[in-house]
């Protein structure tokens, strides 16, 4: 139970980073933190029903649930794809407006419009 409260705190920290920070790179840090917290939640829940690795050697007891692990493999790779695309967009924004700060970017777009 304590672990799940800690995971909720981690999710809230990541969400606050996306909302409250003004630097785009800190917002991307927040995306990665949210991704990590959800992946840990699934693996934690799947490991409660058994205490062996899901590889069928002979003579083992009950294994952990292999389905959340297979889903989280795909989730981790997709997370790194999202990070790469968002970092490319952030660098492009920096090149056109000179700063990572979203207030500066907003003001420059309004000045040019």
């Amino acid at each position: 139970m304590i672990e799940r409260i800690l995971l909720l705190v981690l999710f809230m920290i990541g969400f606050w980073a996306i909302m409250a920070h003004r630097n785009i790179i800190k917002k991307i840090f927040g995306l990665n933190i949210i991704n990590a917290s959800v992946v840990i939640l699934f693996i934690l829940e799947g490991s409660r029903i058994g205490n062996e690795v899901p590889i069928m050697y002979g003579g083992i007891g009950l294994t952990a649930d292999p389905i959340p692990q297979a889903l989280m493999l795909t989730a981790i790779v997709i997370g790194v794809c999202v990070t790469a695309l968002s970092l490319a967009l952030a660098v492009h924004l920096y090149r056109t407006s000179g700063s990572f700060d979203i207030d500066v970017i907003k003001r420059r777009i309004q000045d040019e419009a």
Binding site: I25, I43, S47
Partner: protein, 79 residues
């Protein structure tokens, strides 16, 4: 053991978000990935542990460092 690692991850996340040097934040994100990999090994998921270690501490850190190289390293208005 899992509670200890989760506390470490929370402290590293807070450090990454409050640092004024973005490169320190990138190194903290890499350390979060490493702690996640150890946590997955303890929770009986070795496939996910290998993937998280290779992706988080490898490819993700490389592209973050690339993004900082083409722009600035300092966080202008530290919040």
């Amino acid at each position: 053991m899992t509670i200890l690692l989760l506390t470490l991850i929370i402290l590293l996340a807070v450090f990454a978000l409050f640092s004024s040097d973005l490169l320190h934040g990138v190194v903290a994100m890499s350390a979060i990935s490493l702690s996640c990999a150890i946590l997955f090994y303890i929770l009986e998921a070795p496939d996910v542990a290998i993937t998280e270690a290779a992706v988080g501490a490898g490819v993700s850190t490389v592209i973050f460092v690339w993004a900082l190289r083409h722009s600035q390293r300092k966080d202008d208005r530290h919040e």
